[in-house]
């Protein structure tokens, strides 16, 4: 069958089962936008290419399927650089297709030319400049394979205009679809080494103070069920990192919640005092470890990751296991069962961990997360209260999407994540402005779910225009702006570490007028200033299902995120609140 490159591209996406593409056309990608009209693939027209990238990410986060974005050359391509870097850091499978100037014009500084393959080399899992229309099906198939297997990540395919333009002979191709990918340099290891798994099972059986350190890899590997089985089989408590919130239910008695810079005291301290950390799909990020030299000093490490480069990158593991988290956990469970069976017939029994378990419970009781919402005249609205009210007033399987900063930390702390894939955020790159477009992508992928973006006022101003996309495409996402009129996290650091010298962090609560702005974008806009207005506003917002809703919560500007481990300090030094240490009034 004779096709042109543009038709071949769209047909390849259909072959990959793509149901939606987020994008914005322009000169170089124009020929590809013509066959889209005849394709069953839904196209969502964004207002800025960064939005397309984050929507693809949000879609992938929520569904587990690769998100697809398509943009034009030059500025279209550079505008999607941030989402690519974001997806790279958080291992999100997305495929980005960029138009490129015609082959003959490459390297001539042509209009809207940019060497996007060069620009994105270090922020994609792989990228490719297509040089022949005949290669399009193969390269698209490889792109999806690479994006979704092993450690997932973003793949960019750059396609010169002449290869997709039916008026250009270079676009002629004979359609085919390869039976299988042939990538001699890409064979991810999925099955863990049996001897290492046996070693791990032995360490687990001997440990007195073990902790499971669950990371985002659990979610990528669809391993939440297996993790739960492992925890329940061994009785070992689980911390869930920022990228793993929801991978283990917060309601589970073995769940310790989030560790790290703004984690809770028990999660942080359990790791510090542990004698065995079972790291599953986690990467010893600096936000988790604090000062690496003093992190979990007595702990042996079992480290399971599909990416061999993670093993030993930060902390040398005693038992390194390269493999898919789910496959390895399942094998580990089998091995532990065998050990337990032999223990029953005269082998060594598991040490008594009741003192450790009691210690964990004591810490949880002594150091809960806390804040105080005052109900008197003039008492400011607390952001944490808004999040708890949202949580309590929304369906249990609501998907929560956050931007980056204080509101993100409070969301992770105060929501109760009891289902995997209900928490979408920008963890590694820390991309402000992530929430609104990612929420749109998540809602497109999971239309039956309630999707709340919890955003900061600073973040919201970066990408709010995608609510126009949401309104025009009838994607009823909900946005809670925790409006404290500041770049709050930066303000917090200036208060604590720069002697309250506030430099360029004030934003104003009223400029812009978020309610009017929301309405101008075709959304329902609301404003909430007092605690008693919170629940009714949320109830009203949750009842709206035909358009996006934005609530401007005017929250206490002075509220800070606690607990906190200051950057570069040891996880032994948890600042629990303003009464302790630096920044205490």
């Amino acid at each position: 069958m004779k096709l042109n490159g543009g038709q071949a591209l769209i047909k390849s996406l259909e072959m990959e089962g793509v149901e939606v593409v987020f994008g914005l056309p322009g000169g170089a990608i124009l020929p590809v936008y013509d066959p889209i009209i005849d394709s069953p693939i839904r196209h969502i027209l964004v207002r800025h290419e960064q939005g397309a990238g984050h929507m693809a990410e949000g879609y992938a986060h929520a569904t587990g399927r690769p998100g697809v974005a398509m943009v034009t050359s030059g500025p279209g391509a550079t505008n999607i650089v941030t989402p690519l870097a974001d997806a790279m850091m958080d291992s999100i499978p997305i495929v980005v297709i960029t138009g490129q100037v015609p082959s003959a014009a490459i390297g001539t500084d042509a209009f809207q030319e940019c060497d996007i393959v060069g620009v994105t080399r270090s922020i994609t899992k792989h990228n490719e400049l297509v040089t022949s229309a005949q290669d399009i099906p193969r390269i698209i198939q490889e792109a999806f394979h690479i994006a979704t297997t092993g450690r997932p990540g973003p793949v960019l395919v750059d396609i010169p205009k002449d290869l997709v333009d039916p008026n250009n002979p270079n676009s002629a191709m004979d359609w085919y679809w390869p039976d299988a990918v042939d990538l001699p340099g890409y064979k991810p290891t999925t099955k863990g080494h049996p001897r290492m798994i046996r070693e791990a099972a032995k360490l687990i059986a001997e440990a007195k103070r073990p902790v499971i350190y669950a990371g985002g890899g659990i979610l990528k590997a669809r391993a939440a069920e297996a993790l739960r089985e492992l925890a329940e089989l061994t009785g070992i408590s689980v911390v869930t990192t920022l990228m793993a919130r929801g991978a283990f239910p917060d309601s589970h008695p073995l769940c310790l919640g989030m560790p790290g810079m703004h984690g809770n005291y028990t999660a942080i301290t359990s790791m510090q005092k542990s004698d065995l950390l079972i790291a599953l799909g986690s990467r010893f990020d600096d936000r988790v470890t604090g000062k690496v030299g003093t992190f979990a000093p007595d702990a042996k490490i079992i480290h399971v990751d599909v990416d061999p480069a993670e093993l030993g990158k930060v902390r040398r593991p005693d038992v390194p296991i390269v493999g898919d988290c789910r496959a390895v956990i399942e094998e580990l469970i089998r091995e532990i069962r065998e050990l337990q069976a032999t223990a029953g017939s005269g082998g060594t029994a598991q040490p008594d961990r009741s003192a450790w378990d009691a210690q964990l419970k004591a810490w949880q009781a002594q150091f809960p997360l806390r804040y105080e919402q005052g109900w008197g005249e003039g008492d400011a609205l607390k952001p944490q209260y808004c999040i708890e009210a949202l949580r309590d007033g929304s369906p249990e399987d609501t998907i929560v999407v956050a931007g980056v900063g204080q509101h993100q930390m409070w969301s992770s702390q105060f929501w109760r994540f009891n289902h995997p894939y209900t928490w979408v955020n920008s963890g590694g790159l820390g991309t402000m402005g992530f929430a609104v477009p990612a929420a749109v992508g998540a809602k497109v992928g999971m239309p039956g779910r309630t999707v709340w973006a919890i955003d900061g006022d600073g973040c919201f101003q970066m990408t709010a225009q995608e609510l126009v996309t949401a309104a025009s495409e009838r994607i009823p996402v909900k946005v809670a702006i925790l409006n404290n009129a500041y770049l709050g996290m930066v303000r917090q650091w200036q208060e604590l570490f720069y002697e309250e010298r506030y430099s360029e962090v004030y934003l104003s609560p009223d400029l812009p007028d978020y309610k009017m702005w929301a309405e101008a974008m075709g959304c329902v806009g609301m404003r909430v200033e007092h605690p008693e207005e919170v629940a009714p506003a949320i109830e009203k917002a949750n009842a709206i299902d035909d358009r996006p809703v934005v609530i401007d919560f005017r929250v206490d500007w002075s509220e800070k995120v606690y607990p906190m481990v200051a950057a570069g300090t040891s996880n032994d030094q948890v600042i629990l609140g303003p009464e302790m240490g630096e920044g205490g009034h």
Partner: protein, 184 residues
């Protein structure tokens, strides 16, 4: 076992797909960490789908291990081996143009002969010499030529392969420490 003369120098032999842009992907991983590539040689292997890159890099072992792991993540990289200089054969080629006037001329010719080089071009007061061999031999020759005056010099960068087995009881892979390999 011989002690390598330059302990911080590591030789990586990287088998890659023979495609546009692969060298840039490989070299940018070193550049990102501020590792200077000391020398680099690239050419297709006997199988034209693949090229072999021999990289000599100046780095401490532990960050290098991280770089090799990152290199291995590149889709176009098929196999990486670190070659132990003690267990590999290294060769390099050099062309050098030296001043060779009057009495110096015969001395240069004599040294070229001792080093088993070849004179490939002769001018009225200079000559160009080709010399191949172990990199240390090239270093020595370069030092000796300095006294006469070097007007141009180009080295190829080293290529290396693991030493072959002499004793059958030794393991067949000795000398080629597979850092990571994707193909069996």
């Amino acid at each position: 076992m011989a002690v390598p003369t330059q302990p911080r120098h590591h030789i990586l032999s990287v088998l890659v797909e023979n495609k546009a842009g692969v060298l840039a992907r490989v070299s940018s991983l070193f550049a990102r960490r501020g590792f200077n590539i000391y020398s680099l040689a690239v050419a297709p292997t006997d199988d034209e789908r693949f090229s072999r890159i021999t990289i000599v890099v100046d780095a401490e072992s532990s960050p290098l291990e991280q770089v090799t792991k990152q290199l291995f993540k590149l889709i176009n990289v098929v196999k990486i081996s670190e070659l132990d200089p003690a267990d590999s054969v290294e060769r390099e080629m050099m062309m050098i143009t030296v001043k060779a006037e009057g009495g110096g001329r015969s001395q240069v010719i004599e040294l070229v002969d001792v080093f088993q080089g070849r004179i490939v071009d002769v001018g009225h007061d200079q000559m160009t010499v080709e010399l191949a061999g172990p990199p240390s031999k090239l270093d020595d020759f370069e030092d000796l030529m300095r006294a006469f005056g070097i007007s141009a010099l180009q080295r190829t960068g080293r290529v290396a392969l693991p030493k072959l087995e002499r004793q059958p009881r030794r393991l067949p892979t000795s000398g080629l420490r597979a850092v990571s390999g994707k193909v069996g």
